[in-house]
């Protein structure tokens, strides 16, 4: 049917849709497990696996030299996590301080986290080593459909002028889906404001380019309202406070917490998270053991209701309690230019005569109030629903995939998309779309590696790649260390 429609067909064994860190990690594991380049294709609109991540970290005020939010052992370029990024940077910088930090973390110092630049550079080295660009087919993926004879067709629109036809089909026995976030969602009241007043200048999302806000604040004094209580809010605050210090500005910051955390919280002494000054504090996006310890095991063994219960306790918006941020906020409170408040925003409207924006808010205690600001930066970073992504929506509608209780893709223990198998073929997924299943930390470097290793184990049982026992693992690690091709 596909050929009859005049769409040229390319064959490969496994097609990975996305070409971000999720795809990269699976390709890395498969190459290390002996799969030839010719057996894999990665279909992506991005030139490099880190392109989307670089963009999102950049706009959300995490420039390359800043430190990210994962631990020393989470190295997307190195599935063994050894030597850790701390050792890597300590060696590169000739800085024993970093090695000391990872030794005494988190007892005497903050957790070590690598610089974003370190991640980019090491990813590039590993991408070269595994021949990433030989496997890349650029374009926009339209859909993944099951074939009558088993396996899948993935329909791709290459960039204009690259192929004769507008579309090509990739026929493969296995498909891996790692398309990242389905999209960004705005807070309802902010979306309403932007649409009603057609103003995309004063109300911005932290994940879209908004450098103009910082530039304007340099030329005239202003008030910024920051909404949200996660890592991105922390980063935006840091940028505003750094600029204030560096350029001697008088920026006033109103920080709106929907939920204002006043102290440590949780159901029992065994489950108590640190918090205060509005924030819930946590080093990483989940408690550390969710990435591979006790909490991971608990999630794995729980039934769906138990998982939902656990998620309620350990999930939610958090930020790391970094010494530097604590100091900045303390200075802001003392200097009376940083104003944290608890409130729900009911409505935002223009103040009139170009005096900025008015936010109508109500607090938990029922008090109502109004805040005037020049800008609002939305740091709530809500992820859009899966149906916003064309390929995922198509899969739910025609591909047999279904949602789990969290509204994400239901996947099994090997990250196989439940209901989407096709004859001897199989569809796997990793990343944010697979949240709410047996493993909570899917949207992280370690989560991508977990998924990649588990998918590869399943593929090994199906005869697609070799297993990765101690001998092969050591041999491959030596190659990695020497920078030799896999």
């Amino acid at each position: 049917m596909v050929q009859a429609a005049g769409i040229p067909v390319h064959d490969t064994s496994l097609a990975s849709v996305g070409g971000g860190l999720g795809s990269f990690t699976l390709l890395d594991v498969l190459r290390i497990r002996g799969v030839a380049r010719s057996s894999i294709r990665v279909l992506s609109s991005s030139d490099t696996p880190w392109q989307t991540w670089e963009y999102l970290t950049g706009v959300s005020q995490l420039p390359p030299q800043e430190r990210i939010r994962s631990d020393a052992g989470a190295r997307p370029d190195n599935i063994w996590g050894f030597p850790s990024y701390a050792m890597h940077e300590a060696w590169a910088d000739k800085s024993p301080k970093l090695a000391y930090q990872v030794l005494v973390e988190p007892v005497f110092t903050d957790f070590f986290s690598p610089r974003a630049a370190t991640v980019f550079a090491t990813l590039e080295r590993e991408a070269r080593r595994i021949g990433y660009w030989d496997m890349l087919l650029k374009g926009q993926v339209r859909m993944v459909r099951r074939r009558v004879g088993g396996g899948y067709f993935t329909i791709l629109t290459p960039p204009p002028g690259v192929t004769k036809s507008k579309r090509v089909a990739i026929r493969s026995q296995y498909v891996h889906l790692a398309a990242g976030y389905p999209g960004l969602k705005f807070l309802d009241d902010l979306q309403a404001f932007r649409e009603t007043y057609n103003d995309y200048h004063h109300v911005v999302n932290a994940y879209e380019p908004h450098e103009h806000v910082y530039e304007i604040l340099k030329s005239r004094q202003g008030v910024v309202m920051v909404r949200g209580a996660g890592i991105v809010a922390s980063r935006i605050l840091q940028r505003l406070m750094d600029d204030r210090e560096r350029h001697r500005l008088h920026t006033q910051i109103v920080h709106v917490f929907r939920t204002y955390v006043t102290g440590p919280h949780g159901p029992s002494v065994w489950m108590r998270r640190d918090g205060g000054d509005g924030w819930a504090y946590q080093a990483f996006t989940f408690p550390k053991s969710a990435f591979g310890g006790q909490l991971k095991a608990q999630f794995r063994n729980a039934d769906p209701a138990g998982r939902a219960e656990l998620s309620k306790i350990v999930g939610g918006t958090t930020t790391p309690k970094l010494r530097r941020w604590q100091e900045q906020m303390r200075a802001g409170r003392q200097g009376n230019w940083y104003h944290p408040i608890q409130a729900v925003v009911d409505k935002v409207e223009p103040a009139g005569d170009g005096r900025g924006l008015i936010s109508h808010v109500s607090g938990q205690d029922g008090r109502r109030g109004q805040y005037v600001s020049d800008f609002i930066i939305d740091c709530t970073g809500l992820e859009a629903d899966m149906s916003e992504h064309r390929v995922l929506a198509d899969l739910l509608q025609y591909g047999g995939a279904r949602r789990n209780h969290a509204g994400r893709l239901a996947v099994g223990r090997n990250f196989e998309v439940i209901g989407a198998e096709s004859g001897a073929g199989m569809l796997y997924a990793s990343g944010a779309a697979t949240g709410g299943n047996h493993f909570p930390a899917v949207d992280s470097f370690l989560g991508m590696q977990t998924a990649a290793l588990d998918i590869a184990d399943d593929l090994a049982r199906r005869g697609f790649c070799t297993s990765l026992g101690p001998l092969r693992s050591v041999r491959q690690w030596l190659k990695w260390a020497a920078g030799r091709p896999v």
Binding site: F82, V102, P106, G293, Q294
Partner: protein
């Protein structure tokens, strides 16, 4: 590290049975303060190692309990190192009181301390690096090997 209880116990036994056994084998001939034959010293050293393993399983239960007070349910690298103090002290007291089965006669403090520190450092370093290379899933499964 982010161990589960099963992972802790498995890792403890595995490390002592491999790194511990090898390092003990290497260090015994050069241990200070020994008297008696080399084979006698070997026997004593391995019996002590066995005691460290058995008593260590009890320690792991305590560590696991303590870890429950931590939100992250992690076991910081530094703790893996400084627990040498209580563990070493307990074994030394047992040794001194003649309570380690099979070990009779006096063991010099210098002999014990040298052996204990070498084995401890060796297994700590191994757990923080090469172990991850040998067993790719080890760090993602709470330290379980099986």
């Amino acid at each position: 590290m982010i161990p589960t209880l099963g992972g802790r116990l498995q890792t403890r036994i595995f490390l002592l049975a491999t790194v511990g056994v090898i390092l003990t084998g290497l260090i015994v001939p050069v241990l200070p303060g020994t008297s008696g034959s080399l084979s006698q010293t070997y026997k004593t050293a391995y019996l002590i190692l066995l005691a460290v393993a058995v008593v260590g399983l009890g320690w792991e239960l305590i560590y696991h309990l303590l870890m429950q007070f931590r939100w992250d349910k992690d076991w910081p690298t530094l703790l893996g190192l400084v627990t040498i103090l209580p563990e070493g002290l307990l074994i030394w007291l047992l040794l001194d009181a003649g309570l380690i089965p099979g070990v009779d006669g006096h063991v010099d403090a210098s002999t014990f301390v040298t052996m204990f520190v070498v084995v401890w450092l060796g297994q700590w370093l191994f757990a923080n690096g090469p172990m991850r290379v040998l067993f790719i899933q080890w760090r993602l499964r709470g330290g379980r090997i099986l």
